[in-house]
């Protein structure tokens, strides 16, 4: 087992434990902290996959911005004892568990049986430059639409959270 395998296993265990914590903690603040740990594990996996820019974006956007937004929303809507804020539905938990296990087993078997056209050799080191050329070249329309989508989402979120004024 070389260095890369060990790093993958450690980061994968961190990510999975964070994810399991999100669905198993009964206190939703603890679940949100666990979500941050899972995001940071995924960011480490991006660095391991030589996607340094995406790793940084993951840390800034997910572990920084989205988690703070979620924790603020939790503070605003907390209405009962914090230890009982993240409960599971009495019946749906069994159906949810069954569907999740079936999904994991079948997709996992399909992945094991599949042959992927894996190319040998590592990717080029000019990844960030390539990404910039794609974003402002072939995919510039998608880039602009993403910018407008963010603007619309921010305005919509403000209007929704502020509440409409009666005319």
């Amino acid at each position: 087992m070389n260095m890369n395998d060990a790093v993958f296993i450690i980061l994968g265990v961190i990510t999975l434990f964070g994810a399991v914590g999100v669905v198993s903690f009964n206190n939703i603040v603890h679940a949100a902290i666990s979500l941050v740990i899972s995001f940071l594990g995924v960011a480490g996996l991006y660095f391991q996959l030589q996607a340094e820019f995406l790793g940084l974006v993951q840390v800034i956007v997910y572990a920084g911005a989205i988690s703070v937004l979620i924790i603020f929303a939790i503070m605003l809507v907390m209405d009962r004892d914090p230890a009982r804020t993240n409960l599971t539905h009495k019946i749906n938990r069994w159906w949810g568990g069954l569907i999740a296990v079936l999904f994991a087993v079948f997709i996992g078997l399909a992945i094991r049986e599949s042959q992927f056209p894996v190319q040998a050799g590592s990717s080029s080191s000019e990844r960030i430059g390539q990404l910039a050329e794609l974003l402002l070249g072939d995919y510039v329309i998608a880039f602009e639409i993403a910018a407008i989508l963010l603007l619309v989402a921010v305005v919509g979120a403000i209007i929704l959270a502020k509440g409409a004024k009666d005319q």
Partner: protein, 102 residues
């Protein structure tokens, strides 16, 4: 030896945990958090396939970036909706969100 398959299996398990959270949780914020987990696993798939299969272009990373943008917009609007509903219903329990049910 860690290859593409191990990354895809990890993303599958992450997605399954997200499915369980979406289907079983009663708190609307917890459901949004589980959706974020699922989007993260999809991003992991994009980046892993970009790293191992399409090594000469960064298209997978580009799509992962787009998914991150959509996820940020989704969580902002979703949390605003939850706050708005909480103001009316004084609850974030999904069983109480039955305004459109008759």
């Amino acid at each position: 030896m860690i290859g593409l398959q191990q990354y895809l299996l990890l993303a599958t398990i992450l997605f399954a945990v997200g499915i369980y959270g979406v289907l079983s949780k009663r708190n609307a914020v917890a459901v949004l958090m589980s959706v974020e987990l699922m989007l993260n696993s999809v991003n992991l798939n994009f980046v892993a396939i970009n790293r191992y299969v399409v090594t000469d272009q960064a298209v997978g990373q580009l799509f992962a970036l787009m998914v991150i943008v959509v996820a940020a917009a989704e969580v902002a609007v979703g949390l605003a909706l939850i706050i708005s509903i909480f103001r009316q219903r004084k609850s974030v329990n999904l069983n109480d969100f039955n305004l459109l049910k008759w």
